[in-house]
Symmetry: C2
Subunit: 136 residues, 2 copies
DNA sequence: CAAAACTGTAACAATAATTATTACAATAAA
DNA sequence: TTTATTGTAATAATTATTGTTACAGTTTTG
């Protein structure tokens, strides 16, 4: 699958929701996650592309959610971050002269799509607001 | 997530099922998948540990399924291969002096477990026999 | 029994993916 | 005009994955 990007994006979004009365800087966010601020900015750049976060440049700038947390489903976060199929991709190219090799990718793709579908449906049942509520 | 191991394991198992009247060598299997035979043996070593494959050493040796394909669920394959949480793991250690940082791992773990659960349930509905049937 | 064809596995090399860092231009506030 | 901040490119470092070589151990077969 992917990497730690889902965790990081969700961490960012949770912080933005919990402290939604102010703009948060990449430095502050990086301090909570304990990673490099540039990574936070890169990750947010992606979240902005997907309409989940907005930013203000310049002094006293920072980040905030682009819409109410109850309108952000965790599946939206997953899809914003998703790059490769959930169940992984082999980098081989199966032998086309073998019955199995010739067709396996087609069948794997279908299977992966189904699996991913149930995850997306599951994640779609929780909003960022629900998730953030757990942090007392 | 992981890598290409699920694909490779499923490819191996499908071959073993389709040609279940003979023992297949790692060389033959590697030729269909188009990877190194040693990788095949390593992967099978894991499948053996999980009771899905059995092997015979020596000349005229090779591999076969350890039980009927209809008794092997794709979720068994997934669990045999699974190493890291489906949705990825960040390698940071969140700041414990932050409300979010302190608790996020606990909540992420719960969320990941739920997501993984639905995938396992979904994969559990298909057996290796079902899957192999698709290869005319 | 000796040669041949295998599996099993360790050690290591190569490649690819991920994460971190540095640097600096652009923007906005004070 | 200084300061704080985002945006982004370039590159380095680290880690994960995949591939390779080598060889000991096992079994069949001539």
């Amino acid at each position: 699958m992917n990497n730690g990007r889902f965790s990081i994006s969700l961490h960012i979004l949770t912080l933005l929701e919990m402290l939604s009365n102010e703009l948060l800087t990449s430095d502050y966010i990086a301090g909570s996650i304990n990673i490099n601020p540039v990574l936070v900015r890169k990750e947010i750049s992606n979240l902005k592309k997907h309409g989940l976060v907005e930013s203000k440049e310049g002094k006293a700038g920072g980040y905030a959610l682009a819409k109410p947390a109850r309108q952000i489903r965790l599946s939206d976060v997953y899809q914003a971050v998703r790059q490769t199929p959930l169940l992984g991709t082999a980098k081989n190219s199966p032998n086309p002269s073998c019955v199995v090799g010739k067709q396996i990718n087609k069948h794997l793709d279908a299977l992966y799509a189904d699996a991913e579908d149930v995850v997306v449906k599951k994640l779609g049942k929780t909003t960022l607001a629900d998730f953030a509520k757990k942090f007392a």
